[in-house]
C-alpha cells in the first residue's frame, strides 16, 4: 500500500510539471499549496490509477471477447452461466481494493477535520452576492465583491486575465499559519472554496461550521462560491493573498486606518450632491445586482426602485427598508453591512436618481437615529 501511495505521489508530481507547461489548458487539480490539498491531490492520483487499472483489465477482456467471440468469425456460443468460485473472487477482490483505498482516505478526512490550535481565526459570511470577512483576532472587518467591470461581462470590453476571479478587497493571511475559518451564510447557503488550499465549506445561515488551512507559499489564490445561491452565484469570487508576517501586520494596520476614517464619516453632514455621488458607488456595489443600474429591477423577481413608493414616499420608511431588509424575500438587511454614511448616501442616491427627483437627502445622523434600538438587534449578527 505504502509503495503504491508513493508511486502515485511521484506520478502526481510529474503531472504537476506537465501541467505548468500547459498552464492555459487547465485539466487537473490546481497545484496544491497546503498539506491537505497536497494529500487530496495524491489521493486523487491514487484512485485514478486504480480505476484506470481495473478499467483496462475488465474492458480488455470485454473487447477481446467482442473481437474473438463474434458470430461473424464463426464462434459458437458456450453454454456456461455460473461459476461460484469466479463470482466469489470478483466480489472479494474489489472489496480488498476498496479497503486499501479507504485507509489513506480516512487519514485525510481526520486531518481535514482537525481544526484545533489555530494561530488565528477568521469568520467568513456568504451574502447574496459577496463575501464578508471578520478577523476575530485582529479586529479587521470588510466585504469582498467582484471587481470585474460589467463591460467585460457584457462583452463590450476585453476580458482581463483574472476575469470573474478578481475582487475589490481580497482576504489577506500570513503564510505558514494555521488559520481556522468559521463559515456561515447570511441569506442562503453559500460555499467558500479555494482549490489550492483544499478547502470547501458550505456557509449555512444560522449555523457556523469550521474548517482550516495553512498556506505554504506566498501568492494570490483564487476560488469561487460553490453552492448555487441565486442569480449571481457565478459572480462572487474569492481571492486570498498569502503574504509574509510583516506584510500581514502592515495590512492590518492599514485596514484599521480605513475603518477609522469611515467611522469619522458617520459624524459628518454632507451636501446632497456629495451624497448622491457617494451613493451611486454604494448602489453599484450593493444594489445593482438585483435592482439593476437603471433602477428598473427585474419584473416579477426584483422590484424597481425608479418610481417606487418606497423611494418616493416618506424618507423614514425608505431608511427602514434598507436597514432592516424585507424578511422572507431576497431583500437583505444592510444594518450590519453598511456604515451610516453609506446608507445615507445610497438612500439619497435612490431618491434623486432616474425619475425619482424628490430632492431630499438623508444624513448619517438620520440613519443613526433610525437605528436606535435596531443597532442592538443588528449587533449579534455582526458580532458573531
Amino acid at each position: 500500500m505504502k509503495s503504491m501511495w508513493q508511486r502515485a505521489g511521484a506520478i502526481g508530481a510529474a503531472w504537476g510539471v506537465s501541467q505548468s507547461a500547459l498552464a492555459d489548458y487547465a485539466y487537473n487539480l490546481q497545484p496544491p499549496v497546503s498539506k491537505v490539498a497536497q494529500d487530496v491531490f495524491h489521493l486523487h492520483n491514487l484512485i485514478m490509477l486504480v480505476c484506470v487499472g481495473i478499467f483496462i483489465v475488465v474492458f480488455g477482456a470485454m473487447f477481446y471477447s467482442l473481437f474473438k467471440h463474434r458470430k461473424s468469425v464463426g464462434h459458437k456460443a458456450a453454454h456456461f452461466h455460473e461459476n461460484t468460485t469466479v463470482e466469489i473472487i470478483w466480489t472479494v477482490i474489489p472489496f480488498i481494493i476498496l479497503v486499501g483505498m479507504a485507509y489513506p482516505a480516512a487519514k485525510v478526512v481526520i486531518e481535514m477535520k482537525d481544526t484545533s490550535n489555530p494561530d488565528m481565526t477568521v469568520k467568513i459570511t456568504g451574502y447574496q452576492w459577496k463575501w464578508g470577512y471578520d478577523y476575530l483576532n485582529d479586529g479587521v472587518q470588510f466585504y469582498s465583491t467582484l471587481a470585474t467591470p460589467r463591460e467585460q461581462i457584457d462583452g463590450t470590453a476585453a476580458k482581463d486575465a483574472h476575469y470573474l476571479l478578481e475582487v475589490d478587497q481580497p482576504m489577506v493571511v500570513p503564510v505558514g499559519k494555521r488559520i481556522r475559518l468559521l463559515v456561515t451564510g447570511n441569506d442562503v447557503i453559500h460555499s467558500w472554496w479555494v482549490p489550492a488550499f483544499g478547502v470547501k465549506q458550505d456557509g449555512i445561515p444560522g449555523f457556523i461550521r469550521d474548517t482550516w488551512f495553512k498556506a505554504d507559499k506566498i501568492g494570490t489564490y483564487r476560488g469561487q462560491c460553490a453552492e448555487l445561491c441565486g442569480k449571481d452565484h457565478g459572480f462572487m469570487p474569492i481571492v486570498v493573498k498569502v503574504v509574509s508576517d510583516e506584510d500581514y501586520k502592515a495590512w492590518v494596520a492599514r485596514k484599521k486606518g480605513t475603518a477609522q476614517a469611515a467611522a469619522a464619516d458617520n459624524g459628518k453632514t454632507f451636501g446632497t450632491a456629495e451624497l448622491v455621488a457617494r451613493g451611486e458607488k454604494v448602489y453599484q456595489a450593493n444594489c445593482a445586482a438585483c435592482h439593476q443600474a437603471n433602477g428598473m429591477g427585474l419584473p416579477g423577481t426584483f422590484p424597481a426602485i425608479n418610481g417606487s413608493k418606497v423611494a418616493t414616499g416618506p424618507i423614514a420608511d425608505h431608511i427602514k427598508v434598507v436597514l432592516n431588509g424585507r424578511p422572507g424575500t431576497a431583500m437583505a438587511s444592510f444594518a450590519g453591512q453598511l456604515s451610516d454614511a453609506d446608507i445615507a448616501a445610497v438612500v439619497t442616491y435612490q431618491r434623486n436618481a432616474w425619475d425619482n427627483k424628490t430632492g431630499d437627502a438623508a444624513q448619517p445622523a438620520d440613519i443613526a437615529a433610525t437605528r436606535g434600538g435596531a443597532t442592538a438587534a443588528a449587533a449579534p449578527a455582526a458580532a458573531l
Binding site: H44, M62, G155, K159, K200, P205, L298, G300
Partner: protein
C-alpha cells in the same frame, strides 16, 4: 397464438372509443406503455433543447444570450424534467409494455389506476413548463430545491412543489401496480427466481419508489408550509435547520439515483444474453446484487453533503458505505462481461447501445468512486466533475439503456423492423457526441469550474467550447432516432415472432406486433 386471436374477438363487443378518447380512457397496458414513452420522448426534446441553450451560453466567457436568472431556470428545469419527465416515465413505459408480456399476464393488476397514474404526468409537466410564463419565471433554485434559496422564489416555486407532489403520486400508483402485477399475476411455473432480470429490477425499483417518494413529498410539503404558512422547518431563526432539508431530500435522492438506473440494468441484462446467444451469467448473483444495491442506497445519502460539514464519524461512515456500493455494482459489470465471454456475438443496434452502456456506465461508476472519497469530494463537490459523473450514469447509462430497449422491443411492438443502418448511425453519433460533451467536463471540474454558473473564467474556455460542439452533435443526432422510430411505426420489413435469433422469454412467443390483448389464458412455464 390462437389464444391471442381469440382474446381479440372476445373483446370485440367493447366498443373502443376512437381518437383522443381512446387514449384518455384506455386501460390497456400497451396503450398506456406507449403513452408513457411518447410523453418521455416529447420531454426529452424539451429538456434537451434547454440543455442546448445552456451549452450555447457557455460556449464562451461573458454573458451573450440570456440573463443569469434565466440560465438558472434552464439548469433547474433541465434537471427536473430529465429526471421526472424523461427517464422515470420511459422506464415506467417499458414496465407497462413489457412486464405483463414477460410474466404472461393479461394486463396490469389495476388497469384504471394505471390510466390515472399516466394522465397525472402531463398535468405535472404542464405546471412545470407553464411556470416559465409566470411572473419571475420558472424555478431557478436547482432541481435539489435547497432552502433557504427555494424559500425566496415566486409563485412558480409553489407550482413546482405541487407538480412534484403529482409526479410522486403518479410514481407511487405506478409502483403499486407493478408490484401487485409481478407478485400476483405471473404465469404458472414462473417462480420468482425464474423471472426475467428486467422484471426483477423493476420489482426492486418499485419498492424503492414506494419507500422514498413519500419522503420527498414530506420534504417539499415542509418547503411549502415554510414558504406560505409561517412554519420554520428550515429556518434557523425559527429554530429550524436548512441542512435538515438536505438530509431528507437525499434520503429520497440517493435511492432515486438507483430508481433511475436499476431498470436500465434490467434492460441491459435482457439484451446482452440475446445477442451473445448465451444465458445471462450469474443470474442469482445479479438478483442479489440488485437487492444489495437497493438496500445500501438507503445508507449513503450524506455523501452528497460532504461539503456541508459533518462530524468525522459521519463523514467516515458515509464514505465507507458509498465505497461499498461499488462491490455489487462491480459484480453486475463482471457478469455482463462474462455473459459476452465465449458467446456468439452479433452487433445489432440494441447490442451496440448495451455495450456502450457497460463501458460508459462504468466510467460513471469510477468517477463515482473518486467522488466517494470524502477528501477528494471536498475538492470536486459542486464542480463540473460532478456534472460529468452524473451525466455518464444518466445519459450513457439510463438514456442509452432506454435507446437499447426501444430498438430491442420496437419490432415486437410495431411488427416492423427498424432501419438497422439508421439505427447504427444514431448509435455512433450518440456515443461520439455524448463523450465529446461530457468527457471534458471531468477536466473542467478538476481544474476548478463550479457547476451552475452562467459565465466562467478564461482558463475554462477550450473545454467548454468542445463540450458545446459535442452537445449539438448529440442533441441533433436524436432527430435520427425520432425518424427511425416513426419510420418503423409506419412500416418496414415484417418482424418475425421471435425477432432476434437469440431471444428467450414469453414476449417472443407472441406474434409481432403483439395483439391488443395478450395472455388472456396464462401460458405455462416449465
Amino acid at each position: 397464438m390462437s389464444d391471442a386471436a381469440h382474446a381479440h374477438d372476445d373483446h370485440g363487443h367493447h366498443a373502443h372509443p376512437a381518437g383522443i378518447m381512446r387514449w384518455l380512457t384506455t386501460t390497456n397496458h400497451k396503450d398506456i406503455g406507449s403513452l408513457y414513452l411518447w410523453f418521455s420522448l416529447i420531454m426529452l426534446f424539451t429538456a434537451g433543447s434547454m440543455a442546448l441553450l445552456i451549452r450555447s451560453e457557455l460556449f464562451e466567457p461573458g454573458m451573450q444570450l440570456m440573463h443569469p436568472d434565466f440560465f438558472n431556470q434552464l439548469t433547474t428545469m433541465h434537471g427536473l424534467i430529465m429526471i421526472f419527465g424523461v427517464i422515470m416515465p420511459a422506464f415506467t413505459g417499458f414496465a407497462n409494455w413489457q412486464v405483463p408480456l414477460m410474466i404472461g399476464a393479461p394486463d396490469m393488476a389495476f388497469p384504471r389506476m394505471n390510466n390515472w397514474s399516466f394522465w397525472l404526468l402531463p398535468v405535472a409537466g404542464i405546471m412545470l413548463l407553464g411556470s416559465f410564463w409566470l411572473p419571475g419565471g420558472a424555478v431557478a433554485g436547482g432541481w435539489t430545491m435547497y432552502p433557504p434559496l427555494f424559500i425566496q422564489g415566486g409563485v412558480s416555486y409553489d407550482l413546482t412543489i405541487l407538480a412534484v407532489h403529482i409526479m410522486g403520486l403518479s410514481s407511487i400508483m405506478g409502483s403499486i401496480n407493478i408490484i401487485t402485477t409481478i407478485l400476483n399475476m405471473r404465469a404458472p411455473g414462473l417462480t420468482l427466481m425464474k423471472m426475467p432480470m428486467f422484471v426483477w429490477t423493476w420489482l426492486i425499483t418499485a419498492y424503492l419508489l414506494i419507500a422514498t417518494m413519500p419522503v420527498l413529498a414530506g420534504a417539499v410539503t415542509m418547503l411549502l408550509t415554510d414558504r406560505n404558512f409561517g412554519t420554520h422547518f428550515f429556518n434557523a431563526a425559527g429554530g429550524g435547520d436548512p441542512v435538515m432539508f438536505q438530509h431528507i431530500f437525499w434520503f429520497f435522492g440517493h435511492p432515486e439515483v438507483y430508481i433511475l438506473i436499476l431498470p436500465a440494468f434490467g434492460i441491459i441484462s435482457q439484451i446482452i444474453p440475446t445477442f451473445a446467444r448465451k444465458p445471462l451469467f450469474g443470474y442469482a448473483s445479479m438478483v442479489y446484487a440488485t437487492a444489495s444495491i437497493a438496500i445500501l442506497s438507503f445508507t449513503v445519502w450524506a455523501h452528497h453533503m460532504f461539503a456541508v460539514g459533518m462530524p468525522v464519524a459521519a463523514q467516515l461512515f458515509f464514505m465507507f458505505s458509498t465505497m461499498l456500493i461499488a462491490v455489487p455494482t462491480g459484480v453486475k459489470v463482471f457478469n455482463w462481461v462474462a455473459t459476452m465471454w465465449k458467446g456468439s456475438l452479433t452487433f445489432e443496434t440494441p447490442m451496440l447501445f448495451a455495450i456502450a452502456f457497460v463501458c460508459l456506465f462504468t466510467i460513471g461508476g469510477f468517477s463515482g468512486l473518486v467522488l466517494a472519497m470524502a477528501p477528494v469530494d471536498i475538492q470536486l463537490q459542486d464542480t463540473y466533475y460532478v456534472v460529468a459523473h452524473f451525466h455518464y450514469v444518466l445519459v450513457s447509462g439510463a438514456l442509452f439503456s432506454i435507446f437499447a430497449g426501444i430498438y430491442f422491443w420496437l419490432p415486437k411492438w410495431t411488427g416492423h423492423m427498424y432501419n438497422e443502418t439508421l439505427g447504427k448511425v444514431h448509435f455512433w453519433l450518440s456515443v461520439i457526441g455524448m463523450n465529446i460533451v461530457f468527457f471534458p467536463m471531468h477536466f473542467l471540474g478538476l481544474a476548478g469550474m463550479p457547476r451552475r454558473i452562467p459565465d466562467y473564467a478564461l482558463q475554462f474556455t477550450e473545454f467548454n467550447q468542445i463540450a458545446t460542439v459535442g452537445a449539438f452533435i448529440f442533441g441533433f443526432s436524436q432527430l435520427v432516432f425520432l425518424y427511425v422510430v416513426l419510420k418503423a411505426i409506419k412500416g418496414g420489413a415484417k418482424a418475425s415472432d421471435r425477432v432476434w435469433e437469440g431471444a428467450e422469454g414469453l414476449e417472443w412467443t407472441l406474434p409481432s406486433p403483439a395483439p391488443y390483448h395478450t395472455f388472456e389464458t396464462a401460458p405455462v412455464v416449465k
